[in-house]
Structure formats: C-alpha cells, structure tokens
C-alpha cells in the first residue's frame, strides 16, 4: 500500500502501539489450547461487529465461529510488526472478521435469503412504556446508521461499539488514520442530521 504525503507522515510520526495481547499470543503459539484466553477476551467484540453488520444473531454466531477458527489456525502467520499483519492482535482479528464478512456477503449475493431484523425480536425491561420509548429511540438511531454508506457505517461502529482508535480502524479498513477521522466525522454529522429531522424515519 502506498501512502501519500500527509498520510505517510502520519504513519511514520507515531510509534506503533504496544500490543497488550502479546504475551497471550505467544502463549497460544506455544500451546494452541491457550488461545482460549484471547477467544474469551474478544468474543463479544467480534460477535458485536458481526451482529451489527448482519443484523442476524445466527449469522453473527456463524461469522464469529469462522473468525476464531481462522484466527487459531492462522495464528502462526500473525506478525505484529508486519504491515500486512497489523500492529496488534485485535486489529489482525478484525481484519479476519472483515474478510469473512466480505466472503459471506459475496455468498449472500449468489444465494440471497431473507434475513431477520434480530434487534426487533425481543425487548427487555420491566417497564413496558419505557421499553417502547427506548426501543423507538434505538430504532431511530439504528435506521440512521443503516442509511450510511458502508465504509462510514463500519468506521462508526468500530469506533463506538468496539472502541477502536482511528488508527486501529484504519488498519482494519486499510485506510489512513486521517481518512478514518474524516469518515467518522462525516458519519456522525449525517446521523446527527438524520436524527434531527422529525419523521425522517417514519
């Protein structure tokens, strides 16, 4: 990947973040059974990413399974210093998730199926009135996010749900940190505008 002027400066000016998972990764390389620690740590993040992308819990489970099995099988290829491998285990894991999702999308296009909007399956609260309000609010936000172009939506979700930094998101999406900041700014502005319009999503 070739970086231009400012992007190159940005990429070289800041040191690579330390990988908090380094010792766990090394342990899992020595003994694959130790991979469980990494799995337990990231299963909710990967599942959330998959669920927000697919809106279907079964599809999200399947994608989560694909991601972790692939990660375990390919752990020997992960190199935190390599540009292609990503700077941290988490970034590498989400790249696998992104690729698995792309494969699944291609498969869906070949064999389209109706999907459930799983978020509407259930509501959970003791207070039905509060549940209606909360659900309506959540629905509006969801719809606003759904209307975003794919890359903006994905950047926004990785930022808010998985709490990734712009740099990490850039590594997952193959974009510069600056480009991700702009993506998120535009995404947030679009959502703000959408939510401010009464009846926009009705």
């Amino acid at each position: 990947m070739f970086l231009k002027g400012r992007e190159r400066d940005e990429a070289t000016a800041r040191p690579l973040p330390l990988d908090a998972d380094r010792s766990a990764v090394e342990a899992a390389r020595r003994d694959p059974r130790r991979f469980e620690a990494l799995y337990r740590k990231y299963v909710a993040q990967v599942y959330s990413f998959a669920f927000y992308e697919t809106r279907d819990h079964h599809a999200a489970e399947d994608l989560t399974e694909v991601v972790f099995l692939r990660a375990l099988r390919s752990l020997h290829t992960f190199d935190e210093r390599g540009v292609e491998s990503g700077s941290t285990f988490r970034v590498w894991l989400f790249r696998i998730a992104r690729n698995a999702l792309a494969n699944e999308r291609r498969r869906e296009r070949r064999h389209p199926q109706a999907t459930l909007d799983a978020a509407h399956d259930v509501a959970a609260t003791d207070d039905p009135a509060a549940a209606v309000v909360a659900r309506d609010e959540a629905d509006r936000a969801w719809r606003a996010i759904e209307r975003l172009p794919e890359e903006r939506r994905r950047a926004l979700l990785l930022r808010f749900v998985d709490e990734m930094s712009a740099r990490e998101i850039g590594e997952v999406l193959g974009r510069s940190e600056g480009a991700v900041r702009v993506l998120i700014h535009r995404a947030l502005r679009a959502v703000a505008s959408d939510l401010s319009e009464p009846g926009r999503d009705r």
Partner: protein, 164 residues
Amino acid sequence: MSDEDAIQLDSYLDRLLAGPDAGPAALDALPAVEVALASTAVRLRTELVRFHPSFRFEERLARRLLEVAEAQLRGSVVEPDRSGEPVALAAAGGVGARGIAARRVVTRGLSSPRSQGAADDGHRGLLLGGAIASGVIASGVSLAGAGLVAWRRARTLHRWERLI
C-alpha cells in the same frame, strides 16, 4: 469540514469513550466540538451497545476451538483456511455459514462469568443474545418466552455529557 474539525472530534470521542478511565485531567482539555455532533456522540455511546453471544454458543465454540488446538498439538493435519469460504469449516466439522438453515433455534442463556468480565470493560452497555436492554441497570431481566437475559451496568454521566 476541515481536517482540524475531524481531529477535534476524534479527540473528543477518545475522551467520551474512555469514560471514567479518561481521568479528571481530560475534562480540562476537552476539545470544542459542535453541540449537534457532541450530543449525537453521547447518544450513540449509549445506544450502540456491545452484544454478547449466548452462553451456549460461546461454550460450544470454546469446545470446538479446543478440539482444533488439540489436533494441532497432536500434529494432526489441520488445513489452514486459505479459501476464505465458510464451507472449509463445515468440512472440518464446524457449523459455518451454510449451517444456518439446518440449525435449530437456540434459546440463549446466561453468559459465563469469565466472558462477562473480559468483555465488559466496566462502562459499556452489554447485551446478551440480542436482547434490548436500554435503561436496565445492573439487573438480570427475565424474558418470558424468549428466554433471553440482558443487563446493563449503570452508566454515570460524565461532566462533558451533562454539559450538553
């Protein structure tokens, strides 16, 4: 929008998403961000909760991973997944995306304590198996019929959130 605006917003989000971990010093250096963007960010922070898969799924996948790991230790042939297609997992005994249609619906249950601790970093909303839990504070809520449980930790508003 200038690059500077995007940088300011990024800095704001860093502090917002860090929550209490940002520390009091972060409040003094809070970047100026448009009110509309800030309030939307606060709202999304609340509503874009993290989901957790069912305990049953999590444990099933943990067992599957252990099987693969033990096969690796035994030196069994575990083909690297080069194709990128879920079918490769099905061939290896996994479920894979193609298993969706054939699989029965799983009633989702309680999450394991281990994974709760790992996944919930203390200030994020967390949902189990897709249940919507906005406003539910640190309590398990029984869902008759659905068999889903959700909870959410109390999320104290930070100073900059209250300012909006």
